[in-house]
């Protein structure tokens, strides 16, 4: 066991000597985090620009624009009709709202005003969502006018000033908006709605899989250096060699993931201290399982190319079948195949902790499976290892 730890220490020393490898290993989590921050670090809500051609100089078009501008995530770009036409023609924009010159006047006189959407094709997804929002605001304004005109009609001849009627009607409508008779509640199924919470498990599992590629190289590197045979003529046993390599690679995979988790914790505030520790436990066990699978590849590979290719194929399988970036249907054939992917269990465990706010006790089965793979993988790799062809 002592010699296995010397192997681990030697691996660490070699890792620290290779500045390129060191920089890659430590900077990659930071770089990944920066990309994550770029993708998820800001608002995760819908964002769009409403392109508006306002040919009306009245108060109601202004009211419409103000209401639209007050919605979070929507900004307003007012332009001339000619500009809008050119931009639509060039596909710079896909949808523009035209407010006609007589918009306010028509509304004031009780007439039927009309807004016009000019769009390229179907207006794009963003345009369609914006159009829906504008229709909804237009509907609100329309209801306000309908209500106002009916009240004014009913109170005609009662000597009540029109301004009082307007004020009362508007305050009642505002009250209704604040406390609607018909409300729509949001019920989130499966924990957080944040995108980062949904994607982080996949990013972490991808990271831990580096351990698989690293350990796949562990023995062929010694073979390439010529040190493998030399080591096996010392008092070091093959079992100690494998265990020492396994520990160092597990630690390296874990440390890279640790950096990612710490940054996520510090910046995204994704975890509670307890869920953070739970993720560390999962990461450690998953890194050990990935390293052990890599050791099997290392045991059977005679060249670096062979180790690389097998590791790539296994990693691809793990990612594709393990619910890493897309969900595999539960009762499908792919789901059955996916049971052979470590990612399936790791993702389930991370998702339970990160996105569903579960506890470590909720993922015991996944942890047991991953730990089992780690132990069995290490054992199998030692059993099938041959230092030179024909050796035992």
């Amino acid at each position: 066991m002592k010699r296995a730890l010397f192997i681990t220490l030697n691996e660490v020393r070699l890792y620290l000597q290779d500045k390129g490898d060191l920089a890659f290993g430590l900077l990659l989590p930071v770089l990944t985090f920066a990309l994550m921050y770029g993708a998820f670090g800001g608002e995760t809500m819908f964002k769009a620009t409403a392109n508006i051609v306002n040919e009306d100089s009245g108060v109601y078009s202004q009211q419409l624009i103000e209401k639209l501008d007050s919605i979070d995530g929507i900004s307003i770009d007012v332009m001339t009709a000619a500009d809008a036409d050119i931009k639509l023609e060039r596909s710079d924009i896909l949808l523009a709202l035209f407010i006609p010159a007589d918009f306010s006047e028509t509304l004031s006189s009780g007439g039927k005003a009309e807004l016009v959407f000019k769009q390229r094709g179907n207006g794009g997804l963003e345009g369609q969502i914006l159009a829906g929002i504008i229709r909804s605001i237009a509907g609100e304004i329309d209801q306000e006018f309908q209500a106002l005109h009916r009240v004014e009609g009913n109170l005609e001849g009662n000597d009540i000033p029109q301004s009082d009627i307007e004020l009362t009607v508007r305050s009642l409508l505002e009250e209704e908006r604040q406390q609607p008779s018909l409300g729509v509640a949001e019920e989130v199924v499966g924990g957080s709605t944040e995108f980062i919470n949904q994607y982080l498990p996949g990013i972490i599992t991808m990271y831990v899989l580096f351990a698989l590629s690293l350990s796949a190289q562990a023995i062929v590197e010694e073979r390439r250096r010529g040190t493998l045979e030399r080591l096996l003529t010392t008092r070091l046993s093959a079992g100690e060699l494998f265990f020492g390599k396994f520990i160092s690679i597990t630690a390296r995979g874990f440390i890279q993931t640790l950096i990612l988790l710490i940054l996520s914790y510090a910046v995204f505030r994704l975890f509670t201290p307890v869920s953070f520790l739970a993720c560390l436990v999962i990461s450690f066990v998953f890194a050990a399982a990935a390293a052990a699978l890599g050791m099997i590849i290392a045991a059977i590979s005679r060249t670096e190319e062979a180790a690389n290719w097998i590791a790539v194929v296994v990693t691809m399988f793990m990612v594709m079948m393990g619910n890493t970036f897309f969900q595999v249907g539960e009762d499908s054939v792919l789901a059955t195949i996916g049971k052979f992917s470590l990612n399936t269990y790791a993702n389930k465990a991370y998702t339970t902790i990160i996105a569903q706010e579960g506890a470590l006790g909720d993922v015991w089965l996944q942890l047991v499976i991953l730990a089992g793979v780690a132990v069995a993988g290490l054992f199998i790799s030692r059993m099938i290892f041959r230092a030179v062809p024909g050796s035992k």
Partner: protein, 249 residues
């Protein structure tokens, strides 16, 4: 009669249909430099792998220092040192780190390993380069480090597999002197080389292998006497006479 330090009896090893080692028997005496010569593919490397516990024999017995390789490989590994033909070094580490690491693998404690590493570096004329990265050393220096590592753990039997390949005459001479010095200290050495003059100069006895078998075993003088006057013929003449002139893989 000299004490036998290594005894090899009826050693066999096959790889599928290839009989790499086919009934090899010999003994090496304590304190002897024993040369194992042979053309490429003769079975030398396979034999050394079996002797150094890397490869298990199909049949036969190897006793080193009283320990059976088959039954007590760990005890054998504690008294042998191997200097492989290909450099077996961590090029990113310093000479000292390389040596201390292999010293620890040989079962030495930290301070002991460091002290012996410095001693061996001095022996190889590299004490001033202890902290230098091995990757930046010249070919001759690497060869000397390769040999120095084999001495870590104070082995009683040294396997030197072509330790002077590709180095300048100065480094080669330095290695020869060291090997002779080690012999004087009582080390037993198994030496393989393709340079016949090296074997002639260093080895007390020489075995010539071909086709997985030992086809001749004697002192250099007696081997030469088999084909002519020992003063006139060279070991290379003997070698070519016994193994033939056809090219090998």
């Amino acid at each position: 009669m000299a004490e036998e330090f290594m005894v090899v009896k009826d050693l066999y090893k096959s790889f599928k249909d290839l009989k790499a080692v086919n009934g090899v028997s010999f003994s090496i005496y304590k304190g002897e430099i024993f040369g194992l010569l042979g053309p490429n593919g003769a079975g030398k490397t396979t034999t050394i792998r079996m002797l150094s516990t890397v490869l298990e024999a199909d049949k036969g017995e190897i006793i080193i220092g009283g320990h059976s390789v088959k039954k007590d490989a760990e005890a054998v590994r504690s008294i042998i040192g191997v200097c492989p033909q290909d450099l077996a070094l961590y090029e990113d580490l310093s000479a000292l780190d390389n040596m201390v690491f292999f010293g620890r693998m040989a079962g030495m404690e930290g301070k002991e390993a460091k002290a012996q590493a410095m001693e061996n570096l001095k022996l190889m004329g590299l004490e001033g380069r202890a902290k230098g990265k091995v990757g930046k050393f010249s070919g001759g220096m690497k060869r000397r480090i390769n040999l120095a590592i084999a001495l870590m753990g104070s082995p009683q039997l040294l396997f030197l597999d072509e330790p002077t390949v590709g180095i300048d005459p100065q480094s080669r001479n330095h290695i020869f002197e060291n090997i002779q010095g080690l012999q004087k200290k009582g080390l037993t050495i198994l030496y393989t080389t393709h340079y016949m003059e090296e074997a002639d100069r260093l080895c007390n006895r020489i075995a010539i292998m071909d086709g997985g078998q030992i086809i001749a075993l004697d002192t250099s003088y007696n081997l030469k006497k088999q084909i002519g006057s020992p003063e006139k013929v060279t070991l290379e003449d003997v070698f070519l006479k016994l193994t033939g002139r056809s090219l090998r893989d």
